[in-house]
């Protein structure tokens, strides 16, 4: 009010020149109150006010007032740096709680300034950075105020930004909801703290705070410890929980173990397992489903040291300690279980059973592809084989191959290699019988093998795929195979297999074996060796990288250089800044292939960090490099850097997707595919749609594959464009004039779209937002298929089942119902395709059998209570083997009615799901546990492995997922749960029998 009365501050400014100090003070205080209005006038007199501030003769208050005034004027002039330095001079007069733009802006500025000083100091390792104490005081005042006002999240954010861990701790401990704040803090530290070392510091602090709590959240602590790579901490927590009398604590320990396994950090898990004490007495053999399996023991041979120890322990305890302390027995039993979980075998086994029992793959799609693809076109032929493998990844269903042996036999040479390797994808996770499955194709020791080297190499690769990241048992065998051969095709397969099986273990012996292969300087084997070395050393940032780099400079073979380039990139996985020197070295190399490796190194070192520096560098290379390969890869690499923020990617690459350069467009498509995989993100689909009809064939290929990756497990009810896309794929496959490249893309896309029997999605982040190392590595190597088609199989590493699997104390799957509070149609399986009219000739043989088959089908359907599960019938009939193809087709046509019948009644707004159930990512938020349920989950998680607390332990348990080992005998459909529930006596660990091997009729 007062300020509006005068028209000019001239009078007051003149007063500043008066000699009497009181007059100056008067002028200053009045100016300070009207500075908002008269700053333009005052700005001309700033030097006078500044001199007042600097005048030592004045009293403190007056000088501070002058400083505040100057600060405000500079603020209005937009000179924030000057403004801040004067505001600091004003010390206590600068009121952080004042609600004005000036204060807000300056506070932000002050915090930024402080944070940048602190982080610079930390980066240059200069702890004693001279920070202006006044600046520090202001930031601290702000922090204290935030804490006082209950704005803990802001306080934590500022504290983290400013590297004030003491304040961070204070904010957390003083907050009203410590658990909530802690989990918020973990989130923040993962998404916003860019420097790895600092993030570790934050997490270490969090662990400390967690441990001080009366009821620590062990799940979160262990996640933190895993990030910090401190297995000892995890071990001590697990031990404490296992020792506890309370059964719930043991359940919690199991849950912790499952959560750790989900992050796929093999080296860490092995470490934890090795630190856990070996159980003193072996409990009854039924408890441990995995490692006590005799077949497995045979497989593993004498390789796995732990197993030997365990076996020793068993025999020893049986003889010497016949009667152990009951609590020790219980402890030992639990220990065995947890070792099983940590080895990943339990979860792999359960996943395998789930994928097998819920397989909904649509063989008709494959059939259509097979028929429309020209026989002589080997690219499309192998693409179909790839597609089949991906579609059935992890389901163990190889019906399609069995039914089409003649057709399959057309695969020769490398096609045969990949056809055999495809079996590995199909049987992925079939740890116990993997080796016996592949036995017919494996190289037989000695000269009498007689098999083609291609199928032998493929089989070794397949073994790697089966045991990917869990290769304890198979490593030795693969090593032996590698050493005993000098056929480069077999070496190739063995290298890849070994790399996969020993992923990230940094095993020196294996490394040396592979290095020997590399030094033979054979192009084919050397390429695989390069990649394999990278796989072995994933994320170790070891010295080996420079050794590899040196060899890459020496060798003449492009293939080897490329393999090594990728391998080097893999070694720096997730190391962020640590990798900068290596990246610099690679990106400045003369050789475009090494620069190309540099792009991958950038992608992997900063994977999922959305680090601005990395993005900037990649964008720079994407537009400035002279080599198309490097540009393509640079764009593609963006997908890896950004997968933690999929919403960002379409925006960032949208311009690149309109580039004149087809390689850049291709890269943009795959970048979107990688980072938005499985999200069904609308922007991503919109960006890819035009690219699927690009003028250049390989861009179409990339776009189709990327689209399939984005749309995996999204059904038409969710996004109508999925239906359009499926029809587009079919059209491309059927079109005789389509280019081979895009045809291949379409075939692969159909495989990815229905991957893993329609029960898996592509996920690069675990539920706790950790990078899934296997998945990221898998996609990175997969993207190499541009040069080498067999690497397509690496995509199977990125598949993770979308299921909620509840487990009881015995790690078995009890029958347990829960609610999905959404329309069933939103998340149901895509409807099976009908027999296309174009290929009506194929249907002919059904004519005779139809009546009987129809009657049979009808009976089946009645039994199935007309539930949507009727679809499983197809699987059953199809697994029945060959010769039944006619009835299968009929079954297909019958099922078309099922959905139609359903349409008559209004769709319910919810759905009861039965453990284990398919829960697609989009569905997760609708999952609820029924209130009067017998089981309560240990942690509330909508998917993955969840341990259940039994509230009524006295009642007999009904188990589901006692999978049907011989599917031919199982009754038609829909009875998986009901019937088999009664047959709970059936051991869970019973595996599907290995199918009889088939031979190539060459």
């Amino acid at each position: 009010m007062a300020a509006t009365m005068v028209s000019s501050a001239g009078g007051l400014l003149a007063m500043l020149n008066e000699t009497h100090p009181l007059l100056k003070l008067h002028a200053l205080s009045n100016l300070n109150s009207c500075v908002d209005q008269f700053w333009p006038e005052i700005s001309t007199s700033v030097p006078i006010i500044e001199s007042l501030y600097e005048d030592e003769e004045f009293d403190q208050h007056q000088r501070q007032l002058a400083a505040l005034l100057v600060s405000k004027v500079f603020y209005y002039l937009g000179e924030l740096n000057d403004s801040l330095s004067y505001a600091l001079g004003a010390s206590s007069l600068f009121d952080v709680s004042e609600d004005s733009d000036y204060v807000h802006t300056l506070l932000a500025k002050a915090i930024d300034e402080y944070a940048s000083i602190k982080s610079k100091a930390a980066e240059s390792n200069n702890e004693a950075a001279n920070v202006d104490p006044r600046l520090e005081a202001i930031v601290e005042r702000m922090l204290d105020k935030c804490i006082m006002d209950g704005k803990y999240q802001q306080a934590m954010g500022i504290a983290i930004e400013c590297r004030r861990l003491d304040k961070l701790e204070e904010a957390i401990t003083r907050s009203d909801n410590i658990q909530g704040t802690l989990s918020y803090c973990i989130n923040v530290s993962h998404s916003f703290v860019n420097r790895r070392e600092y993030r570790s510091e934050v997490l270490r602090l969090l662990v400390k705070v967690y441990q001080k709590l009366p009821s620590p959240d062990y799940l979160s602590i262990c996640q933190c410890l895993m990030f910090l790579d401190e297995p000892e901490g995890v071990v001590s927590i697990l031990e404490k929980l296992l020792r506890s009398e309370n059964k719930d604590d043991a359940l919690l320990a199991f849950q912790v173990a499952f959560d750790l396994v989900e992050n796929e950090h093999q080296a860490f898990l092995l470490n934890v397992r090795d630190h856990l004490p070996v159980p003193k007495s072996q409990p009854s053999e039924a408890v441990q489903p995995v490692s006590s399996d005799p077949a497995n023991a045979q497989n593993e041979g004498s390789t796995a040291a732990e197993d030997v120890q365990m076996a020793d322990g068993t025999s020893a305890s049986v003889t010497t300690v016949p009667e152990a302390d009951p609590s020790e027995v219980m402890y030992a039993e639990r220990l065995t279980k947890i070792r099983g979980i940590l080895s990943g075998e339990t979860s792999i086994q359960l996943t395998l059973q789930f994928l097998y029992s819920h397989n909904k793959s649509d063989l008709l799609i494959l059939k259509t592809i097979k028929q429309s693809v020209e026989m002589r076109n080997s690219v499309c032929h192998s693409a179909t084989i790839y597609s089949n493998a991906i579609m059935h990844a992890g389901t163990t269903v190889d019906t399609f191959l069995r039914e089409n042996l003649d057709w399959l036999s057309r695969a020769t040479n490398w096609a045969k290699f990949s056809a055999t390797a495809g079996l590995g994808v199909i049987h992925r996770g079939h740890l116990q019988q993997g080796r016996s499955l592949m036995a017919p194709y494996l190289p037989q020791g000695g000269a009498g093998g007689g098999g083609s080297p291609y199928s032998e190499g493929g089989a070794l690769y397949a073994l790697g795929l089966i045991h990917a990241n869990h290769g304890e048992g198979i490593k030795q065998f693969l090593r032996d195979s590698l050493r005993s051969t000098n056929v480069e095709v077999i070496q190739h397969g063995a290298c890849l297999g070994l790399g996969l099986a020993a992923l990230g273990t940094a095993d020196e012996d294996i490394y040396d074996d592979i290095k020997n292969v590399l030094y033979t300087d054979s192009a084919v084997a050397g390429e695989a060796a390069g990649i394999s070395m990278g796989l072995l050393m994933v994320g170790t940032a070891s010295e080996k990288a420079s050794e590899m780099l040196t060899y890459a400079h020496e060798t003449q073979h492009e293939k080897i250089i490329r393999g090594l380039a990728l391998g080097i990139a893999l070694t720096v996985y997730g190391r962020e800044e640590e990798a900068d020197t290596l990246i610099e070295q690679m990106t400045r190399d003369q050789d475009p292939i090494l620069r190309y490796g540099g792009m991958y190194a950038l992608a992997l070192a900063y994977s999922g960090t959305a680090n601005n520096k990395a993005i900037r560098q990649l964008l720079h290379f994407a537009v400035s490099d002279v080599s198309d390969d490097v540009r393509r890869t640079a764009v593609l690499a963006l997908g890896f850097v950004l997968y933690s923020e999929p919403e960002q990617t379409p925006r960032i690459v949208s311009l690149l997707s309109e580039s004149y350069n087809p390689h850049v467009r291709y890269g943009a498509a795959l970048a979107v595919g990688i980072s938005c995989a499985g999200t069904g993100l609308s922007e991503a689909i919109s960006l890819l749609e035009p690219l699927t009809s690009d003028v250049v064939d390989f861009v179409r290929q990339g776009a189709l594959i990327a689209m399939a990756m984005v749309m995996v497990q999204i059904n038409e009810a969710n996004d109508s464009r999925v239906g359009t896309f499926r029809r587009q794929l079919e059209k491309i496959i059927l079109d005789k004039h389509e280019d081979t490249m895009s045809k291949m893309g379409a075939i692969l896309a159909s495989g990815i779209l229905d991957a893993g029997g329609r029960n898996v999605t592509i996920k690069l982040l675990s539920k706790t937002k950790h990078d899934k190392i296997t998945a990221v590595v898998g996609l990175a190597v997969f993207s190499q298929f541009w040069y080498w088609y067999p690497l397509i199989y690496f995509i199977s590493l990125a598949f993770s089942p979308t299921a909620l699997i509840g487990l009881n104390y015995d790690l078995k799957v009890p029958r347990f119902e829960f609610l999905s509070h959404a329309k069933p149609s939103l998340f149901e399986y895509p409807k099976p395709t009908t027999v296309p009219t174009a290929t009506s000739a194929v249907k002919l043989p059904t004519a005779v059998l139809s009546t009987s088959a129809k009657a049979k089908a009808r009976a089946n359907k009645k039994e199935a209570d007309q539930k949507e599960k009727a679809i499983t019938e197809k699987t059953d009939t199809s697994t029945a083997g060959k010769g039944k193809s006619s009835s299968e087709k009929d079954g297909d046509s019958m099922q078309v009615d099922t959905p139609q019948e359903k349409k008559a009644e209004p769709e319910p707004s919810f759905e009861i799901l039965i453990n284990p159930a398919r829960v697609v990512p989009a569905q997760e938020k609708f999952i609820k546990i029924l209130e009067d349920s017998r089981y309560v989950p240990v942690k509330s998680a909508p998917s993955g492995f969840v341990l259940l607390r039994d509230l009524r332990p006295t009642e007999p348990e009904v188990l589901s997922l006692t999978d049907a080992p011989s599917s031919t005998q199982s009754p038609a459909s829909g009875t998986t749960t009901g019937q088999q529930g009664s047959a709970s006596a059936m051991a869970v660990d019973e595996e599907p029998q290995p199918p009889a091997p088939f031979e190539y009729s060459t």
Binding site: A2, A3, M5, V6, S7, S8, A9, G10, G11, L12, L13, A14, M15, N17, E18, T19, H20, L22, L23, H26, N30, C34, A622, V623, S624, L655, L656, E658, S659, Y660, N661, V664
Partner: protein
């Protein structure tokens, strides 16, 4: 009456008495004291609070500042003049509708204009002029200043100098004296640009000096860069001191090249 106000008016009376006595030292001290006391009144600018005595206080404050301005002329202190005038100004502008007009207003405004003219601050002179109403412009004091400025701009320096004879108020004398010097500076500035050198005689005539001695002193004090030799004044040196700016050709070439490169890169 408010005791504070009484105190101020008493001190003011003594201050006025001191002015008439021409005891300027006392005046300055008393004035400073007065100003400090004035800060205690909340009715004065910039607060303008409504108090029962506000009109009285405002009038008194205005009187004090008017006297302060006149005093500064008397003690020939231009800085003090400027300071006091700016403090007085709100009473003329912002307090216009609260107070009866002051008899001295135009005289002081005219003085201020003159001061600006003397200090060669023509821009501010015109700003001040724009703030005046058309009736104010008719006032002889203001008119005098305006006419002077016009002559000054036209270069009719003789008219400026002759105007000294008919000042509207005796206080103007001080500034009129100063104005002569301003005129001389102007002429000196123009001569520098116009001539390479001038003979001492011509220079004396041009710069309105009565003797060579005065010219030499002036050039020594104000323009040390002038060179006096061979009976002439050389301005050459002054001209050289302002070299023409170089064209940043290298920088421009670099920039253009980088644009071209960026254009190449556009995806």
């Amino acid at each position: 009456m408010d005791p504070k106000l009484t105190e101020v008016s008493q001190l003011f009376e003594r201050f006025k008495a001191a002015i008439t006595r021409k005891d300027y030292d006392t005046c300055t001290q008393q004035l400073s004291l007065l100003k400090v006391m004035l800060t205690g009144f909340r009715s004065l600018p910039p607060l303008f609070e409504e108090t029962p005595n506000s009109v009285h206080e405002l009038t008194l404050a205005r009187d004090i500042f008017e006297h302060a301005v006149l005093l500064s002329v008397k003690i020939e202190d231009q800085d003090a003049f400027e300071r006091d005038f700016f403090q007085l100004k709100p009473y003329y502008t912002d307090a216009r509708n609260r107070l009866p007009e002051s008899p001295n207003e135009y005289m002081i405004l005219g003085l201020n204009l003159l001061r600006l003219l003397v200090q060669n601050r023509i821009a501010e002179f015109h700003t001040e002029l724009e703030l005046l109403t058309s009736t104010a412009l008719e006032n002889p004091c203001i008119k005098h200043a305006v006419e002077l400025e016009q002559s000054f701009m036209e270069g009719a320096y003789n008219r400026v100098l002759s105007a000294k004879q008919n000042v509207p108020n005796e206080t103007y004398g001080y500034f009129m004296d100063l104005l002569a010097k301003t005129v001389r500076d102007e002429i000196a500035g123009c001569s520098e640009k116009a001539y390479d050198y001038l003979s001492i005689n011509d220079a004396c005539q041009m710069l309105l000096f009565k003797s060579d001695q005065e010219l030499l002193e002036y050039s020594k004090e104000e323009h040390p860069e002038w060179e006096v030799k061979n009976g002439s004044v050389f301005f050459q040196k002054a001209k050289d001191s302002a070299p023409c700016k170089e064209i940043p050709s290298l920088q421009l070439i670099n920039q253009t090249l980088s644009y071209a490169r960026e254009l190449e890169r556009i995806v």
